[in-house]
Symmetry: C2
C-alpha cells in the first residue's frame, strides 16, 4: 500500500479471483460496442465503491469462453474489507459472474504481467444426440473420438515451440514461441476433456490445437503430424478453430508453487 | 399398431424419452398463457410430421424444474422412421430440449398411466459464494450442511406413508398416500445431492421433503421429527418449499426391471 499524493488515504492494490460463464458476454476485454465481462465487473465495483474503477485482467477471453478462475487487479482508496468487496460486488452482478476471493496485493502486482502460466480445459460432448445440460458448456461432436489416440498425439505440443501455425491469422504478436507444460486428453463417459497448461497462449491457440487433434481423429490430418505442423509456421495447414462454448480458463499461476510442473 | 377407420394408414403409438433444462419454461404441461415444454415439443413434432400432434407426458413438472429423463407418448399415421423423429424434432427444438430416443409402443401404452415410478434428484450448492456454473441448476444454501445427518433423517421417508404434510396446499389429490422406495443424501464437494425414488409424487412433494431436511439441518425442526410430521397430515408443520432450479426428474420406471428396488 502507499499513500496518494493529495491526502491521507492509502491506495490499495487488490487481487481478485473470479469465475464466469461467458455465454452472454463478448469476451472479457472492454469494447466500445458490445457488453463484456470487464464492463459488467467495473460497473458493479464502481457502484459498490462509489468511484470509477478500472480492472486489469490476466488474459483476454473470446466471446462465449468461460473461466473457472480468472485473476484481475484494481486500485482503490476505499477502506472496505476484502470480504465486503466479494459479497458486495457479487450482489451487484448477474448470476453468471462471481468474485471468488479478494486479497491485498503488492503495489506492483499486475494480473497480466505477473502471470506465470495458465491452464485451459476444452470440453467436447461426444454424442450424436444433443444434451440440454451441455449445449452452452461444451462443443458437441458426433464423430466417435479415440481419446487414447488423441492423448498420445497431444504430447507433441509439450515443450517450447513456435505456435505460428496455431494462432489466428489476426494474431499481431511478433514472438509466437510459447512453452507448453502439459497437454492431455481424457474421456469421461460422453465427455472428452482436453487439458493444456503453458506459460502463455496466442489468440485462438487452444481452440486450434483442439481442432487439429479432432482433424487427426477424423482422418483429415495424418497421425503424428503435429511436429510438422509446428515447424511449418502456416495456419492454413493446421485444423479448424473449434467453437468457444467448450473452452474454460481453468487456472492461472502466479507463483512457482501454483504451477503443475 | 392398428389401422384407423378411414383408410389404410397405420396409427402408431410412439414412446419418446427426452431431457430438458426447465429454466426458460413454465413447466411441462401446456397452459393458455405461458410457454411450456409440451407446447415447444408439440410445435416441433407437428412441424416435422405435418399434422397436429398431442403428446402425453409422464408427469407435470413445475416452472424451472429440469428433466434428465422424461417420457411421453403420441400417436401419428406418419410412417417416418423413429430415428428420423429424434433427429428431425431435435433440429426444430432449442438447445434446452432434446429427444433422446423414440420407439414403437403397444397400442395402449400411456406415459402417465403406465408409469410405475420415478426418481428425482435435488441438488444443493452448499457455499457462501455463488458459482456461475450452478446458478440455474442448483439451489445455493450458505448454511453448512451435515449430509451424513440428513441421509439418516431421510430414511424416515422410505416406505408407504400419507404425504399430506408434504404437498402444496393447492394439491387436489384425494389419496395422498405414496410409497418411497429409497431416499438418501450425499455430499460431493460443494454439492449436496438428495435422491428420492417412489411410485408417485404429489405437487411440490420432493421440494418440501428437501426443505424439511434443510430445516432439520438448520435446527429449525428437531432431529427425528419426520415420522411425526408424516402422521400430523399438516403442511404448515413441515419445512419450506425449496426453489425449482435444483430439482431434476432423473428417471422414470415402466417395468419392474427399470426399478431400483
Amino acid at each position: 500500500m502507499k499513500h496518494n499524493g493529495s491526502g491521507g488515504a492509502e491506495v490499495r492494490n487488490l487481487r481478485v479471483m473470479m469465475a464466469y460463464r461467458g455465454t452472454a458476454y463478448h469476451g472479457f476485454q472492454r469494447q466500445g460496442n458490445a457488453y463484456t465481462v470487464q464492463q459488467a465487473v467495473e460497473e458493479a465495483l464502481s457502484g459498490l465503491l462509489g468511484e470509477e474503477v478500472t480492472i486489469y485482467g490476466c488474459s483476454r477471453t473470446d466471446a462465449g469462453v468461460h473461466a473457472r478462475q480468472f485473476c484481475f487487479n484494481f486500485r482503490t482508496e476505499n477502506p472496505i474489507p476484502t470480504r465486503g468487496i466479494v459479497f458486495g460486488t457479487n450482489a451487484r452482478l448477474g448470476d453468471d459472474i462471481a468474485l471468488l476471493s479478494c486479497e491485498e496485493a503488492e503495489e506492483d502486482f499486475h494480473a497480466r504481467y505477473c502471470c506465470k502460466g495458465k491452464e485451459y480445459e476444452y470440453i467436447v460432448h461426444n454424442s450424436e444426440i444433443k444434451d440440454p445440460f451441455y449445449c452452452d458448456r461444451a462443443y458437441r461432436c458426433p464423430h466417435p473420438i479415440d481419446a487414447v489416440l488423441l492423448d498420445r498425439e497431444a504430447k507433441a505440443f509439450v515443450g517450447e515451440h513456435d505456435f505460428k501455425s496455431f494462432c489466428s491469422a489476426d494474431c499481431d504478436k511478433e514472438n509466437t514461441t510459447r512453452t507448453i507444460y502439459s497437454c492431455g486428453v481424457k474421456r469421461e463417459g460422453d465427455l472428452v476433456r482436453f487439458r493444456v497448461a503453458g506459460n502463455g497462449f496466442l489468440y485462438n491457440m487452444v481452440r486450434i490445437m483442439v481442432g487439429t487433434l479432432l482433424s487427426i481423429n477424423e482422418g483429415k490430418l495424418p497421425q503424428g503430424s503435429v511436429p510438422q505442423l509446428l515447424l511449418s509456421r502456416d495456419r492454413t495447414l493446421a485444423g479448424r478453430t473449434v467453437p468457444p462454448q467448450g473452452l474454460y480458463l481453468d487456472r492461472v499461476f502466479y507463483k512457482r508453487s501454483d504451477s503443475i510442473e
